[in-house]
Structure formats: C-alpha cells, structure tokens
C-alpha cells in the first residue's frame, strides 16, 4: 500500500491554480522533481484576461510590482524574482511597464543537501499583484506546489520549455564587445552604446529599474555619433533622490541587456563654460610644450630687435585662430561623414608627418645658422599672420593638460559649441605671445641684443632637431610597419579583450597612445616604465593593454569617444565592481600609484 502511495506521489506534481475574474495564478517548475543541494527554477505564472495587465519591478508612473513571499520548509533558499523584459504600456500621457497575457516570473529555489529523496515537499508562496485595464484591482493568492524529491530530475514536460523561453527573455549583462557609458546632460543623462563590429543598430529604448530617476513617458531620442549610438534619458519631472547611475534594461532591436553605469562627473560632463575654461587653459599651457616653446622663443627674441606692436599681436592671434578653426572644420566635417577621427588625426597620415619633419628641419637649420632662410614675408602683415599659423602647425604633435578633455567635449558636441571651444583654445595659445608683442613695457625687460643671441639660437635648435628625429621615427613606423621591440608587458588592444578581462574580474590598465603624441611618449618613458610603477601593476595583478593609435583605427577611436575623449593620451584603469577611472593626461608616478592603491 505504501509503495502504491509513494508511486502516486512521485509520479505527479501537485499545484493548485488560483483563479480570479481577471487572472489565473499558479506555481510551476522547470524540472519534475527537487534534487537535494541543487537549484531549480520555479515560476509564478500569471495569466491575465485580454486587455488586462500586471506590472514589472518598476511599474512606471503608477501601478504595483508583483510580489512573492515564499513560505518554504527549513533549509530551502529562494532568490529574487527574475523578470522577463516587460512591455511599455502607455496610459494617456503616462507610461507603465508590465505584461499583457501570460507571464512567468522566475525564481531560483535551492533545496537543502540533506533533503531525503522519496518524501514529496510542498513549496508555498503568497503572491500579491495589481491587475489593471482602465481600473485596477489588487489581488493576492496563496499558492503551493508539491514536488517529489529524487536524486536526479529531468525537465518538466509541460513547463520546462516555457520556463526556458521565459529565462531567455530575462535580460542579462551584455557580452564582451559591447560598451556602455553614461554621462550627465542638460535635463537628464545620456547613454552611449558601442556595439561590437558588424552589429548595426536600428532602435533602442531604456527601462529604468528605479522610480523617480528617468521619466517613463518622455521619448528617448536616439542619435548617432561615429559608430556609437547615444540614447537620451530625460530625468524624472519629480526626481526622488540623486540621479547618479543609469541602471535598468536596454532594449535594442529585440535584444535586451541590463545596464548599470555610473554617471561619472568626467570631463565629458562639462557644461560649455567649463569646456571653454579648460580649452583656454590648455591653449596657454600649449606654449610651454616642447614642440612650441623653442619656436615661440625664437619669435619672441625678435622683440629684442624692435619688432612687435599691437598690429603684430593681432595678426599673429588671427593666424592662430584661423588655423584652429580650419583644423576644427576639417575634424568635424570628416567626422560628420562618418570618419572615425579624433584629435591628432592630422598626424595619423605619413604625408603630414613627413611635411612636419621637413618644416622642423628647416627651422632647426635656420636657428643653427646653417641655412639662411629669408622669410619672404618677414616684417609684413601676412608674415605675422603666418607666424600664427606656424605656431599651430608646430603645436599639433603636442597636447597640453586640459586640452584632451576640452577637445573631447568639442568633438563629441560638434556644431557651434565645438567652434567656441577651438576658439578658446586658440585665444589661450595666442595670448602670451600676443601680450608680449603688444605691450612695449614687457619688451623693455628683455635683454638687449648681443652675441648671446646666435648662441641661444643654436641651443634652441637642439629640441627642434630632436623633434625632427622623432618625427622621422614616427614616419618610419607608419610607413614600414616597423615597430619598436615589443614591450612584453603590454598586450595589444581590442575592446573584446578588455571586456572579457573585466568580466573575468581582472583589473585592466589601458594606455591609449600614439607614436606621434609627445605627451604619450613622455608619460610612457618617464612614468609607466618606472620600476616602482611596473611593480605596483604586477603586485595588484593588473593586466596592461596598449591601444596604439599611430595609424587610423576605428575601434580605438570608438573606445576613446565612449570615454568622452577625442584624442590621445588617455589612461583608463578598470577594476571589477568599480567605475572605470580616467587618469590625467600628464601622469606622475604618485598619481598612478594612488590610483592603483585605492
């Protein structure tokens, strides 16, 4: 008799569906039996009659998320509800997120390891939900499911597949190759979406996990930027708490991923005012960079010989501004037609590098006295204008602190804002020389001309020769594919690699660099190659990745854009569970060690 009863119990699964006028509710399982120590997925099945719906974990402007309170025997553990992607349900001018028809809300239950096979177990739950058409009815049900216990269990014939299908519709984090980045905007935030190569996206929308952050009913404008999609996320009209993370489900052409991205106050969050400030500062600092300082010093020496004047200053500044505008127009124009370019793009072409090398050579030879170059325009108005152009041309291999962030902003904004940023950059750069030229008072402090001048010029020629050699090396790299002995510690970059390393919980340091970028070379040789810094990387188990942008590389350009930068250098430290940290363009060993130590 007992054998018969056991047989009956083990062969069937008892569940008691509850029916209300609008909803049929029951607990169902993916497998035929509980296996001690193993997890099993159960589902709360809610089937609403046509036109009625229940709600997602964030119900939207109104409504109520479904809740399950488990009443399990001792030793059992239940997880949180795993929600399949909901539908957007507009209600007049408002928006809800929920499910029409049937939905399976999944929960993983783990049976204790000491459960004895043979005795069936009854799992109970109290489920509460709100079901609405125009009006709403809160409902609840006491549900139970009795399952046999066995040493192994196959898939349930009736519910195994529907539960597997529902699981496929529960969004998870995106696989490697995808990159997301959130930044603050006027009136909300925006999410940059960088798909893997070859994936074209048509549409996207975002469902926030939390209420009071993103406005459910407002449209989310989608814009394209060189390989990226940017989704505008309008802030809630009545915000609750700070909006400092973009956390929810991103639905893309039928795929759905969970996204959890902090809205970091990176330089890319700058308002225009700050971008202008940084651009101006960067322009000022550009005068001190090794590319520019020797050339400008030579020109400044001209003041000792009586050159100068307000007109000189104005024409010089005009030359600088015009050159920056031309570069801006070229950069923005090319990006608008889809080219994956960033600042420094002018140096990615071997022809430009060769031209610059020749130019520096002529200047160096002139300074050394080896080559008399009578500048045909010297002393004339156009000469002053062309000095400004020359200054910008020689500045192009260098970037200054603050410039990277300001340019990142400019390039990603485009339009009149970008031109304003380039204008601020130009003004900052022109200011010291123009001020010196325009004010006779300052010039009186310069030493009187004398035999020291040719000697000084010869000394100043040295950095210029060095620049020629360096540009020659860059040219060789670009043209002959000859690379320096590979630094074994650094792996070549790919977005896939960084994502998979990060997913595996490994810290990663990415060095975005280029042969033609002076600041990059200085940082690499004097900071990153240091013994104490390399030791710190090694001790913390940080994987080192180098993104070499010496030649055009759309993948790297995209990665830089997603970080809010448009050029090199850029240094990013990825640590598991934390937001990626961008380091400054001019590195110090202390700064790197501080970032690693934290």
């Amino acid at each position: 008799m007992r054998l018969l009863l056991l047989f009956l119990f083990s062969a069937s699964v008892f569940a008691a569906p509850v029916k209300t006028p609008q909803v049929e509710a029951e607990l169902v399982a993916e497998r035929e039996a509980l296996v001690p120590g193993e997890p099993i997925t159960l589902a709360l099945r809610l089937k609403a009659i046509p036109k009625w719906h229940t709600y997602w974990r964030n119900p939207g402007d109104s409504g109520e998320p479904t809740r399950i309170e488990w009443r399990l025997p001792p030793g059992f553990a239940a997880g949180e509800i795993e929600w399949p992607v909901p539908e957007r349900i507009p209600v007049g001018p408002l928006m809800n997120f929920g499910y029409y028809g049937e939905v399976l809300l999944l929960t993983r239950i783990v049976a204790p390891a000491n459960l004895a096979p043979g005795t069936p177990v009854t799992l109970r739950a109290q489920a509460n939900w709100l079901v609405c058409e125009v009006n709403c009815i809160p409902e609840e049900a006491e549900l139970s499911l009795t399952l046999p216990v066995a040493r192994s269990a196959g898939t349930d014939a009736r519910w195994g597949k529907p539960i597997a299908d529902a699981r496929a519709r529960v969004p998870v984090a995106a696989p490697g190759g995808w990159a997301f980045d959130a930044r603050g905007e006027e009136g909300g935030a925006s999410l940059a979406i960088a798909p893997p190569d070859g994936v074209a996206l048509k549409g996207a929308f975002f469902l926030p996990f939390d209420e009071g952050k993103i406005e459910p009913a407002k449209p989310q404008a989608l814009s394209r930027e060189s390989g990226l999609l940017r989704l505008a996320l309008p802030a809630a009209a009545q915000p609750v708490g700070p909006f400092d993370r973009v956390s929810g489900v991103l639905v893309l052409d039928g795929k759905a991923f969970t996204v959890d991205s902090p809205i970091t106050a990176r330089f890319a969050d700058l308002g225009l005012a700050f971008a202008l400030l940084l651009a101006f500062g960067g322009g000022l600092l550009l005068n001190l960079m090794p590319c520019v300082l020797p050339v400008l010093s030579i020109k400044a020496l001209g003041f000792a010989q009586g050159e100068g004047g307000a007109r000189h200053a104005l024409l010089y500044s005009a030359g600088v501004l015009a050159s920056f505008w031309a570069l801006a127009a070229l950069l923005i124009g090319l990006r608008a037609v889809g080219a994956q370019l960033g600042w420094g793009f002018q140096l990615q072409s071997p022809a430009a590098v060769a031209f610059l090398a020749a130019l520096f050579l002529i200047l160096a030879l002139n300074l050394s006295g080896l080559f008399e170059f009578r500048f045909a325009f010297a002393g004339q108005p156009s000469g002053h204008f062309l000095s400004g152009v020359l200054a910008v041309v020689v500045a192009s291999p260098c970037t200054a602190p603050f410039m990277g962030a300001a340019l990142g902003y400019a390039v990603l904004e485009s339009g009149w804002r970008a031109f304003l940023v380039f204008t601020a950059l130009g003004l900052g750069m022109a200011l010291p020389y123009a001020a010196l030229a325009a004010s006779p008072g300052w010039r009186r402090h310069l030493p009187k001309p004398g035999p020291w001048m040719p000697r000084l010029k010869r000394w100043l020629a040295v950095p210029l020769y060095a620049t020629v050699l360096w540009l020659g090396w860059v040219f060789a790299q670009q043209v002959s594919f000859f690379h320096e002995k590979k630094d074994a510690a650094w792996e070549p970059y790919s977005a896939e690699k960084v994502a998979s390393l990060a997913a595996a919980g490994k810290p990663v340091f990415v060095d975005f660099t280029a042969a033609w970028c002076v600041t990059c070379q200085v940082n690499e040789r004097f900071v990153l190659a240091r013994d104490d810094v390399m030791k710190a990387f090694h001790d913390k188990g940080v994987r080192l990745v180098r993104a070499d942008w010496t030649r055009r590389d759309p993948e790297i350009a995209k990665a830089l854009a997603a970080l809010g930068r448009s050029g090199v250098p850029a240094y990013v430290l990825y640590r598991p569970g934390r937001a990626p940290e961008l380091l400054p363009e001019l590195l110090t060993p202390q700064r790197v060690l501080e970032a690693l130590g934290g």
Binding site: G63, N135, A237, Q238
Partner: protein
C-alpha cells in the same frame, strides 16, 4: 588645481536636475462640488495640502475605508491646514464622477477637506503633473512646494495595516510647522493612474 576644477564640475552636474519641490506652487482656479470657483491663491498664508483622488481606485478606497485619509484631514484641518481634494478624472473617462456623486461619496466616508474640486478637464492634474491616485502635495504659507509624492511609505498594505505606515504628509506638515526642514521632501507616488 585639478581638485577645484573637478569639484566645480561636480557642483554644476548635480544642479542640472531641478527639483519641483522647492519651487513656487502654480496657482489654479477650479470649481468645487457646489460649483463655486476655488483658487489656490485664496489660501496664501496658510499650509495647503492637495490630495489627488478617484473613488474608483482601490488604493484610494483603502485609505478612505480604513479612515486613514478622513482622520488626517480632520487632524490637519484643526491645525488650520487647508485640505483640497482634487478629482482630475477627465469627464470623458468611464470613471468620471459628477459633483453630486463625488460629494455623496466624500460624505459617506466621513471626509472633511476644505473643498472637493472637480477638475473635469484635468487641467490642474496636468499642471501639477499628478500621476497617481492618491498623489499628495504640501504647500507652505509662502506658496512654496515642500512635499510631493506618496501619502505614506507602505505601498502595499491592507486596510488594517495602513495605520502603521509612516505618513509623509503628516510628517512634512509637522516638521514645517516646527520650523524644521522637511526630511523626506519627495517620494515616488503610488496608486492607480490618473484618468486623463
């Protein structure tokens, strides 16, 4: 130098989303159940509570059947707080209540607001961006919005357990009257959708 710049940037970033709470409450004029026009500006100099309601909504019914809402209306009324109950259900909706029906329902529940307003064009609802019933707003005597959101912190409750919830409106009025800043100034409202 970089720290200062970063701090300044963070400061501007956080003020980018303006709070509705803290701004002046917009004025309106809408008829009550007797047909008399009621204006918010009539009550300048007093605390005003705006309560969005809809008798067809189970959440509203929970708060009225349990006596929760009528008790609060009486309690605050005794402190000279002006309570205005607003029904913004659009007249085109199946849930629209005529002024007579609304008055009768309020009387049955023992409600005692200063006035019950019939916002049949949903104008005031849209002006205040009311989403749910109930949705509560508290305005101070200077006309500034000091609280917006849910009536209490127990979204899912029975009629019995609703009394043990933390009532945000009672707390906000109490703190403001004591000269203290409102500790919970904005919450996500819960309830049924306003039937625009």
């Amino acid at each position: 130098m970089k720290q200062i710049v970063l701090a300044l940037m963070l400061a501007t970033a956080s003020t980018a989303w303006a709070q509705k709470v803290g701004q002046p409450a917009p004025d309106f004029s809408v008829p009550d159940v007797q047909g008399k026009a009621v204006k918010l500006s009539d009550y300048k100099g007093k605390y005003v509570v705006l309560e969005w309601t809809n008798p067809e909504c189970p959440y509203v019914r929970r708060h009225y059947n349990s006596g929760n809402m009528p008790t609060l209306q009486k309690e605050l009324g005794a402190k000279d707080v002006v309570w205005l109950t607003v029904n913004s259900t659009n007249q085109s909706s199946s849930e629209f209540k005529s002024p007579q029906d609304m008055a009768k329902w309020m009387a049955e529940k023992g409600a005692s607001p200063k006035a019950t307003l019939i916002d049949k064009d949903s104008k005031v609802g849209k002006l205040y961006d009311a989403r749910t019933t109930p949705h509560m707003y508290v305005i101070d005597p200077q006309g500034k919005l000091i609280y917006a959101g849910a009536i209490d912190d127990k979204r899912w409750a029975t009629e019995a357990s609703t009394k043990s919830a933390n009532n945000h409106v009672r707390a906000a009025v109490g703190e403001a009257m004591a000269g203290k800043p409102v500790s919970v100034a904005a919450t996500s409202p819960y309830g049924c959708t306003v039937k625009y």
